[in-house]
Symmetry: C2
Subunit: 352 residues, 2 copies
């Protein structure tokens, strides 16, 4: 956690802060903070990001909720990958949306299957995690990104790209964000949760001006003003002083080291018949057990032996992936990961 | 604005903060912050407030939205006062609710009219501003509070009491918060925006445990964790160090002085036939012009002469109160208020 960085940023900013940051701020987020964020993203994404196309949110979950509130109506159909981020399903439920799963394969969302589905029903929007997917770890290749953006233009739907893991992996493994392939159709969600700290609760939507305007015209933002102006001012200092850059570099070194370690432990310890695709970023590894296995049935025994994982069905609108489990490798040090993998391998063997 | 207070609170807290405040926090808000807030409210409300009955939000607008999201469904009917807080109408629209206005009189919501309406239709909830009302400045007397809570119990609906102005006025003029009269039926919304600073974007819901649990089970909170843990930690220090108490005292002295000043300017300058009820707290004075006047038609001329007010119809689901205008007295110093009232009186005379 960036304890020193946030102390330093707050000590730098608060005594000199523009008093307007204590008042109600503009719905879109303050101009200085959006400029700092655009500068940071342009440098790290490797593609230009415009301050005018950013709207500040209280994290990516709030960003998603805001998009659903302002760009969908209750009863609308949305498409999601199967599997998808399980907590997003709760956000869709709160907005009373019909959720239709789209199949995925080892390269990400199955664009051929999607095209067939679109001939029958065009959704209001499609929610996708195109990079270091949660839970699968998969990154959508450029060719599919182009096809996906093309389908959105052809059939007329929006794509909401949850790109919170974009900066968490090997640079060479992450293509340009999805908006590059269809700036008029894609809203990109980002968050400081994976690159600075979840507890500051800041994120953003990057999208076409019309959609950004529609998001701003939200009842809560009109009433309370933009998200957390004081915290935005502190993070502006973190960016301006280079603290966000240096912390991200440090976080990525840790993420990468734990990822490599987890992969080698799993390769060594897991019984034959358990498979996983090697991720190049993100927080997760998606284990596929033999088809007859039941990860849900293993949860209680896992908890008893101190092994924590999430069973596949919770990631699936149709409760598929019963023989899958998601492992997280970023929150524990190497020694604990080793120990956890040994216990997990025992658990799997004992359930065989 | 509490510049020095927040600098001091941040400098006190960040170096010693529990690192868990940088991580995802509990959906309800952290236990320490809720305990500090409960202590603060108990002392200032003069009635006991339990930490377990508080849920932390990003201000009162977010609190209202959360209540509507989790305790209503699209298409539900809610009752509101006529007039009511105009920005709340945008929040109701985002949640696709049917908004039915209830008449008010100089003592607040008309409980006799409400009882008649309830015999035909019981709403999912009633939204009320029982203290230093926005826009009318009126405070609901104890006897009506008792009647209102009794009706909620009898007919089975929830009351959402927007009590953000509870601590902004003369102590003797504010009865105990509405929950005192019906703890099982009332959710109270509060905010640091009027007592510390809008830019920190923190507020709360105080309510019965079942409803607090339902609010916690929200998609965004499940996904992103509780609201702004780092900012909560800083405000914990502001409360523990007594900075919140001293700032509130200072703010109230300023609010009161500007309120008295505004009242005496209006009494002196306004033409006969313009009436207002003297408020004892809050931020606003609600002017009633003669019935044939049109405050909407005066907006442009007001802007041209540097006088800012909000015309009555925006506070009314049915666009009533065309001959009313809301004046705000807290954001300008006495000299500016004097000047504004002189210009306003001219404006009114010129439109007569």
């Amino acid at each position: 956690m960036p304890l020193a960085e946030l102390c330093q940023a707050a000590a730098h900013r608060l005594p000199i802060a523009d008093p307007s940051c204590y008042a109600y701020g503009p719905e879109q987020g303050g101009a200085e903070f959006r400029a700092d964020l655009a500068d940071f993203l342009t440098r790290h994404y490797g593609v230009p990001v415009q301050a005018g196309e950013l709207l500040i949110t209280a994290g990516a979950s709030h960003a998603l909720d805001l998009v659903l509130t302002r760009l969908c109506r209750p009863g609308d159909t949305i498409f999601v990958e199967d599997p998808t981020y399980f907590f997003a399903l709760g956000i869709f439920a709160d907005r009373h949306l019909r959720v239709v799963p789209v199949p995925t394969d080892p390269a990400g969302i199955d664009v051929d299957a999607l095209e067939l589905m679109l001939r029958t029903k065009v959704p209001r929007l499609l929610y996708t995690i195109p990079v270091f997917h949660n839970p699968t770890g998969v990154t959508l290749p450029e060719e599919r990104r182009r096809r996906l953006a093309g389908l959105a233009t052809e059939f007329g739907f929006l794509i909401v790209a949850d790109e919170v893991y974009q900066l968490t992996g090997d640079l060479a493994a992450a293509p340009a964000p999805l908006r590059t392939f269809g700036p008029g159709q894609v809203l990109s969600l980002g968050s400081f949760s994976k690159i600075l700290a979840p507890g500051i609760r800041l994120g953003w939507v990057e999208g076409p001006p019309d959609e950004i305007n529609a998001l701003q015209d939200c009842g809560v933002l009109r009433s309370g003003g933009g998200v957390a102006p004081v915290m935005c001012a502190i993070v502006s200092s973190a960016i301006q002083l280079g603290l966000q850059d240096s912390f991200l570099e440090r976080a990525c070194r840790i993420y990468s080291s734990r990822r490599q370690h987890m992969i080698s432990c799993l390769s060594r310890e897991l019984p034959a018949g358990v498979r996983f695709q090697v991720p190049h970023g993100g927080f997760y590894i998606w284990l596929e057990l033999p088809a007859s296995s039941d990860a849900v049935a293993m949860l209680a025994a896992g908890e008893a032996s101190g092994v924590s994982f999430r069973a596949g069905p919770s990631f699936s609108p149709g409760q598929n992936f019963r023989n899958f489990m998601r492992l997280c490798f970023v929150f524990n040090e190497e020694k604990k990961l080793t120990d956890g993998v040994v216990r997990l391998a025992e658990l799997i063997r004992s359930h065989w």
